[in-house]
């Protein structure tokens, strides 16, 4: 029984890792679609979001099966409940990459946008997602806490990008306000991705320590 349970737990970890990888790829592709003005890639991000949604349902089903059939307690129970919460955050990350892709498509942006800072922010947010899922699989409390601290960096990027782009709106003489607002929105979505990765890290902390810092479990 225990062996079967362990195998199912391992399957759960593999599926979570896969879902995390899909999120990472989606973040990279959405940002790339923006900077390269690649509408096809943007469309692919929206389609990949459906795959992420589907995977959430699958993992949810697996968790429910584990909970009902195995009636786990203590740490196992926490690991499965944490997984159930984590996939909600990952699914939202998928939504946000899809939101970014929709902006790219709706503006029919076919000229590349050079935004060094937005790219850096995207890399930082993506790393938070990867590290939070790795922290779950490796049961690495230190890495989970590193992710929580990293959220400040992503927030900082957002503040700077917003400030710079608002200044740009004020200065530019043309009619680019809407387009620039869209770029701030994209930074906002990346900032939210950082928030979700932080939530994931908090659930990892809960699964290891048994206490959760903000939410009532």
């Amino acid at each position: 029984m225990r062996n079967r349970f362990d195998r199912q737990l391992q399957l759960l970890e593999e599926e979570l890792t896969h879902m995390g990888e899909l999120c990472e790829v989606a973040i990279a592709n959405a940002t790339n679609a923006l900077t390269e003005g690649d509408l096809e890639q943007a469309q692919a991000v929206i389609e990949a979001d459906e795959e992420i949604d589907q995977l959430e349902k699958e993992i949810e089903g697996l968790c429910m099966k584990l909970l009902l059939q195995q009636q786990p307690v203590a740490r196992d129970l926490r690991r499965i409940s944490a997984a159930l919460k984590m996939i909600t955050d990952m699914e939202r990350i998928g939504d946000q990459t899809s939101d970014i892709a929709e902006i790219v498509i709706s503006t029919r942006r076919n000229t590349p946008t050079q935004l060094k800072k937005l790219n850096e922010m995207s890399v930082a947010a993506s790393k938070m997602v990867r590290d939070s899922v790795t922290a779950y699989v490796e049961k690495d409390l230190e890495l989970a806490r590193k992710v929580m601290l990293e959220d400040d960096t992503v927030d900082q990027y957002f503040d700077e990008i917003r400030e710079e782009l608002i200044a740009f709106i004020k200065e530019e003489q043309g009619n680019k306000g809407k387009e620039i607002f869209d770029l701030i929105m994209i930074a906002k979505y990346l900032e939210r991705i950082g928030d979700h990765a932080t939530n994931i890290a908090e659930w990892v902390e809960f699964s290891i320590t048994g206490s959760h810092r903000s939410e009532v479990v």
Copy 2:
């Protein structure tokens, strides 16, 4: 058996109506918290979002019970599947009201903001939510289609508000860019609420006609 099923379907309708009402109240309160600069009311909106999340879980449980115990077919099956989809959109509406409330709190806005158009937009979005849920309960296809058309009005409000506020950013001599950007974000969240109400209306149409206009069911 059929009577019991009918009673459970009625309970489902009542809970959906209740969830819709909570969403409506949240939209009104979030907008009011903004215009009155009422931080306590903003906090209450965030707490009400948790109630909406809770209700989603309850209704989801009820739908699963109905599906498993009653094995419904045809129209009954469509009504229950539609309900399952609708609550996801309502839950997102709750999130968006919470997002608005968080902006009100984070800006510590304690001076009332007079924004006639934003209030009108809020009323229009809220009405879409109410009408979409009413259309489900009353099985009113015409009302569902009216909601879908109404989304254009809400989108129009968003375009106008964004345009006016971007012009305001360009004109104002002070340092209000961030604050004005936040107001555009709030309009964006209201626009998304309209999108979710449209999704709900499309699920109502599906539950009545058996065909869905955009999503693969």
